[in-house]
């Protein structure tokens, strides 16, 4: 094994020994980091679940196209053909004026009123499902469809999509802000812990310097200490989120059932878990680096 690797292995082992040497301090630090990280991690879990819920319970957004009342059969057929050939359109459903009339007649209380009308007041219509259901793309498509010959009115069903997107954007921003604030908190916790560690091992630092240790050699166990503390704190956060998800899964599922929705609350996925641990470890390393560098500069 190369010298470099063996020195890193020794530094990692020293960091682990230092973590174990003060179990109560370590436990309290890990709990503080874990709880701090659990808040944005829980937010991320909720966002993932909301996105999942939104994708399974909301219908695909559609565009309704109403033809002019005087549009004849040929004009309707041409429009249908144009819609079916349009690259931005995924599906087209034709609703003829006769179909609408028949459905309205079946509506309670409307039958007699409609019978009294001199002629069919309903236009032929199309219900279009777009390929791209983002609000902006739908707006653009609707504008284009308004220009088709024989079209009287185009109704865009995107308000709910806009509201949902705004809500999700707000949620994401909130989670990111929370993560940023608590990330700074984690760096502060690590900075302070490492400062105390350096003071505790002051004699060792001093002796190592006299014996020819470089700053990097001296700092290495502290860096690993910060990394491990962050990583284990991340694990605690993951555990908190996992337990919270497991505890809430039953009640949330029951509530969803009351609204006729089949929903299963899930904990953090593999990518989010990996991200949580990586960020926690890196922030721990960063806090340690700041602390050690300040100490080295001052001594």
């Amino acid at each position: 094994m190369s010298v470099w690797l063996s020195q890193h292995r020794d530094a990692l082992a020293a960091a682990l020994r230092r973590l174990i040497a003060a179990p109560l301090n370590t436990l309290l630090s890990l709990l503080a980091i874990g709880i701090a990280l659990a808040l944005p991690a829980s937010g991320q879990m909720l966002m993932s679940n909301l996105l999942q819920l939104a994708s399974t319970t909301t219908p695909s957004p559609q565009i309704s196209i109403f033809m002019k009342l005087d549009a004849n059969h040929d004009a309707v057929s041409r429009t249908e053909k144009q819609l079916k050939q349009h690259s931005g359109v995924s599906a087209v459903k034709v609703v003829t004026s006769e179909q609408t009339l028949a459905r309205m007649k079946m509506s309670e209380g409307l039958g007699d009123v409609i019978d009294a009308l001199p002629k069919n007041p309903f236009p032929d219509a199309f219900v279009v499902t777009p390929h791209d259901d983002r609000p902006d793309a739908m707006e653009s498509l609707a504008k284009e469809l308004r220009g088709l010959p024989g079209v009287e009115h185009v109704q865009l069903d995107s308000a709910w999509a806009k509201r949902l997107e705004a809500l999700l954007r707000l949620g994401r921003t909130g989670v990111n802000l929370l993560a940023a604030f608590l990330g700074v908190g984690l760096v502060a916790i690590t900075f302070n812990t490492i400062r105390l560690q350096v003071l505790t091992h002051q004699a060792e630092v001093e002796v190592s310097r006299l014996l020819g240790a470089t700053d990097r050699f001296i700092a290495r166990p502290f860096y690993y200490f910060g990394l491990l503390q962050g990583l284990f704190g991340g694990l605690v956060a993951w555990l908190i989120v996992f337990v919270a998800a497991a505890t809430l899964r039953g009640p949330v599922g029951e509530l969803a059932n009351l609204y006729g929705i089949d929903f299963n609350l899930v904990s953090l996925g593999t990518t989010d878990t990996f991200l949580l641990l990586a960020v926690a470890g890196l922030l721990g390393w960063f806090g340690a680096a700041l602390s050690v560098r300040q100490h080295m500069r001052d001594t």
């Binding site: 006299l210 014996l211 020819g212």
Partner: protein, 217 residues
Amino acid sequence: MIRFSQVGKRYPPGLDALSGISFEVNAGELVLIEGHSGAGKSTVLKLIAAMEHPTAGTVLVNNQNVGAMKRAAVPYLRRNLGLVLQDQKLLFDRTSFENVLLPLSIAGFPAREAASRARAALDKVGLLKREKALPVSLSGGEQQRLAIARAVVNRPKLLLADEPTAHLDPHTARDVARIFHDFHQVGVTVLIATYDDALFNLDGARRLVFDHGRLAP
């Protein structure tokens, strides 16, 4: 090997520990730095080991200007010299073996070779049987010998010792003095700051006598 040229060292707020010091030490010499308490003996050793920087003049060690040395270069200077300080600077939460192993770990020796060298150094000072003992369980003389073992485990060409026999009984002090003599005999350059010159009344030893920060003629 060592050259002091008009070296001065002033501590705040203006106390001159050394002034106008010039001398040379050749490779393989045994030099006793003598003088009363506060004469500047320890300061000379600290300047050589780059623990202090001169406020005047130059200190050359192996043709390197120690006073102008960058912080990053200092560790590599110290790896090439053995240092025995007055207060020993042992790590009391580590065994004798681990204390001696530390300079080798720092220098990046492979684990097996480092262990072998550490045991050889402990054997040289008669502490091999106490390799698992913590320094707190060692006597004053044993602690001093442990500090010497740690200083020589890297097989340095230059050995610096600051009052190595202070606080030791005469018998133990003679043992410690003999160890330094042995190292000198195998070609190591040895500088010892001491007020106990009788212990080091050895053939071939050169004396530098300091008086209030100046070298006595």
